[in-house]
Symmetry: D2
Subunit: 373 residues, 4 copies
């Protein structure tokens, strides 16, 4: 009989945002059940949150350290832990669970410093366990199809990549009562990058995921448009990739009228594609000299192997389904004990993302000088 | 500690479509666990399907009758059964479970004849149990907002409603190996309506849901464009509503280029709205004489009480989340033991839908004469 | 040396709308110069309007009758007259100019009664002159391409046609000072049809133009939603075409949020097309089972012979250019002395349009009974 | 009686592209008649072209020098000359006509070198005549509305401007028989900038036109992606504006799937706007915290003074109408003998555009160093 894998969670108590998303994502395909947690550093909130979620009191822990130890010791201990704390609190639990021999699913960015990121990477290597980074946008079926199209040469040689991730929710100074805004604009918790770390890393990761291009050099300009803000709320970067392709990245949290405007455009010598996250079930593809085609998730020109489809074309899948695909991948990888199909974001992507943030900060401090990752 | 409700399922074994959708929908909000089933009339398939789904062998039943009896007798018996069989096999299990005192969640349309529909309605009344019909498109947040906007007078007096549900998957004769196509085009199993029953009822229900208008008379024209097809693959209808409003409905399964084109437009004396299911997170609203506004799910002009939001605006929710909202409603209604917020489709909607199919068939047979429901 | 043709105009003085459109359309391709006019029944306005337009005082006439006579007698008399008066004042000048041996370009609908329409048709026949009806939407390049695609079988056998023309400018009672609204809602001047005559005829004509289908029977429902309005402001019709195709037409002037929403969708056994006038440079085309294609005016999949292109794809042409194409056709036909390429709307289209209006009014009066044209 | 102004043309003979556009634009509003030309350096082609266009043989000149002299001497000489030759042949005729006391309408970019541009500017100053540069995209009504909205503070303080102009027609090496492609990729004729001069200048001009921001410093990266191409086919630039705003510009002629993708996005502290040239009759505007609005040309939220409207909203105006507005402005300015409303592109814009090209080339040669204009 098919058995669900057991999931624990660090962070994600009452009032949190991304923890709830991880929980829904873990449920969608019926591969996981949440059985343990260190849901908050506040003991009362931790217990109440566990109760809300049907976690037995004896598996609601006061700290991640205690949880790692206790779950590793149980016969029915968790198969993986999901780490959904702010950036600066990723390394501690990640290393603790890896050292306890437990697989890790970690929210992005990997950490708040490159140094901590490298420590996590080291722990992954030593542990031999699975490490999945929830760059969830790579779970969208059409992004997997795009990756396969690029790899198969449908676009010819890639020449230019333009990726954007623009929002407007930080157009004005953050409300101190808004927990999500507060930690994201505090460099102690978010790291040196504000917007660039929060969403720039998603954009960078997605461009990498689809094109597979390697950055040779990059130049960036970070700005804090809102008075008094300690981290950037807008970044634009320029890339030179190995082999001659070029690209740009623009991430902003002050672009009024954009809720969650992640988009990707890739142009090659034979074709181009365009995709917008807010309507993720369509992507346009133009073979040079022919009419533009509207490709739909699972539609007429689907490419089978890379797509994860739950419902037929025309029945929109969204953000949560894409996120769930990462959890489905994680389950498959853990059951198989191997690295999976090779397209699920992992530790290398996490380290690269941290280097990207650092490079942006460095280049911007040097007036946009070219730097390497 | 929050406990999940227990769900059973009739139909939905290997090879089925809508059963899987119900299961995902039931999982998304963490309110249900699937513990029992009569998943197929083929015993081997039933057992294998149960095993796939982690249902214990002693709760995998050979028939719905046996299941209703056994589950009613268990202390830990199911809280509700989901009926996901073809239309002509709804009445049997629905009545059996209601008579056993078990709540029912039933796929649409309610049945294959008005007669059977009325029998189910009678059983619901006698049982005093909850009956939820999964007209899932009413679970889309913006459709709930639209309903509230109409009710609040944002559109003034409604004058004209245009609802469409157009697809193209039956453009050619159905492949006999396509199980979904086979029963939908067989009047013995689908009922007298083909396209009108399969998707026309969704369109009709959605227009009713949003506007609350009552049909005074209607006229319809059904066509089977594909040679040899025994049921309609295209229907267009004209409505006169009480109070003077009018409307049209067009459903088709031969409109090439449309995957799942459900759309709703409502125009009143003071405003108009337009919505398309394939990109369900946006709806336009025009107050007469002002610019058209793009309303987004959970965005700037959200109307709180009617919306069920899992992720922020710009993070698209889709078909499965809308479906899940029906399951969330069902859970809330069952826990509370009452009829819920009054917007979840129920037995009356199911009977009305069956009368709508019958009226379409009757009017069309009479050359489009006006008929009543 | 290339010489411009000479144009006269009846109607279109200061304060008029469509006269100005005709003048721009006549200028765009440099084939016409406006040299004469009976621009208003008010002598002062006529003279002032002529002066505005650079028409010599001796060719500004007090009546169309005088103008027809005088221009026919001049050696440098006009090659054609444009009639841009309200519907009930088309027949008089049209017949007068035809009888004077002068070609006629006439605004639509042809007249305000079928009777008058037939008189004009008779005059055309007797005169042997060109008669062009400005159903300008047929001048859009993509509508000409659509017509050619249907004719060439790209859609297979046409099954269903859905044409709409929805606006909102008459949502409220017409302002008596709005000259355009005033005559259009006065049955004495507009004819028995309000919305159906003003814009329904455009929609009907466009569907005919593209598909070439012949109406076998039709049923219509006209409504005046605005209190006190003497003509319809909303019409929906149902068609049975010879050969088995069907269709619907919806025209409205109370659909809030629609400025000029003319759209056409045609579905056949092998493909479907969709086009919206407000963004007329794109049309989608789906060959069954393949991705939807975005065809652009003059773009990759253009069909040469039917397109009239002034600027490259991506440089949008609009309403005025489509209108100008009718004037270009008229010039070509007059220079050649023949019927042109056969796709320019003419007297037969005008008579058919009047029969369409009459059929709508008749069917609606008979509760939607099927009628013939 | 209203008299048309007299127009001459240099360049634009048979086989040319932009000359025909200028002619249509000059005709649309009935303010100009073409009476003279030096249409080609090839005498036979010049004469044949003049004949096509109805220009009297004695006003078809063999050279612009001869034409300037002769027309200046005629009592009925031209009011303005339109210069529509390749970039490197603008300065000669522009200066000749200005010195002859004739107003000049010149295609963009102003020249092929900054040096020549400054010579033209000097000639303009000395002559006291009107000089209009056809940055035609500023003629779109919604771009004039955008300019007025920014000026009125509807967006608050502008923070970020993103302008793009992407095409794909030079994705492959230029066909030597394609006259348009040939001179645009030949630095002797186009100047040092390829894509940046041809379309980058339009993008730069439009951003300036709408925002009025002054460039403090800029950095650019030019690329020739197609092997063997002597000028850039892709440029991206970064701007720092005086007062703290920033921006990016991307122009490309190798972005497969884009026909003429000029777009502008402006984000301020209180609102944002987005506009795409290929559907120029709509622009979105979001006041921060409110729903996004779809503004239409001449629609509900039009701003009157800046709009030039020929037909009602919903009746799309396009590229030619926008171009015609520049000609209308020119006519108004010449008739009034003054500088017009101040929004028509003139000599300063032309010089600034040439400095922009030079700055892009310089910065790119210096590895993206910040430069000034």
């Amino acid at each position: 009989m098919h058995k669900k894998l057991k999931l624990g969670m660090v962070g994600g108590g009452r009032g949190a945002f991304i923890g709830g998303v991880h929980r829904i994502a873990s449920r969608i395909d019926g591969e996981w059940e949440l059985v343990a947690g260190a849901l908050s550093s506040d003991p009362g909130r931790a217990a109440a949150s566990a109760d809300d979620l049907g976690i037995a009191p004896d598996r609601s822990y006061a700290s991640y350290a205690e949880m790692a130890k206790a779950e590793a010791a149980r016969e029915d201990g968790i198969d993986a832990v999901a780490i959904v704390t702010p950036n600066h609190m990723h390394a501690g639990p990640a290393i603790a669970f890896l050292e306890a021999g437990i697989n890790v699913i970690c929210d992005k960015p990997l950490s708040h410093t490159v140094e901590d990121a490298l420590k996590i990477a080291d722990a992954v290597k030593k542990s031999g366990k699975q490490f999945i980074l929830t760059h969830n946008y790579t779970g969208y079926p059409l992004m997997r199809q795009a990756r396969e199209m690029v790899a198969s040469g449908a676009l010819g040689e890639v020449r230019f990549v333009a990726v954007e991730y623009i929002q407007d929710w930080l157009t004005e100074p953050a409300d101190p009562d808004n927990k999500q805004a507060a930690w994201r604009t505090d460099p102690k918790r978010s790291g040196a990058g504000g917007c660039v770390g929060d969403i720039g890393t998603h954009a960078f990761n997605l461009a990498q995921f689809v094109t597979g291009l390697e950055v040779e050099a990059m130049s960036a300009d970070l700005t804090a448009f809102v008075e008094g803000r300690q981290v950037d709320d807008n970044v634009e970067a320029r890339f030179r990739f190995k082999g001659g392709a070029k690209g740009t990245l623009w991430a902003s949290q002050i672009a009024v009228g954009n809720e969650n405007g992640l988009s990707l455009r890739v142009y090659g010598s034979k074709g181009g594609i365009e995709w917008h996250q807010e309507n993720p079930n369509v992507m346009t593809y133009t073979p040079f000299g022919e009419p533009k085609q509207i490709l739909t998730r699972g539609g007429a020109a689907k490419i089978g192997s890379e797509q994860s489809l739950r419902v037929p074309p025309g029945h929109p899948e969204g953000y949560l389904e894409g996120f769930a695909t990462i959890y489905k991948d994680a389950a498959d990888m853990i059951r198989a004990g191997d690295g999976g199909a090779g397209h699920t974001p992992g530790i290398e992507d996490g380290v690269l993302g941290m280097k990207f943030i650092a490079a942006c900060v460095e280049s911007s401090a040097k007036d946009g000088a070219w730097v390497t990752l």
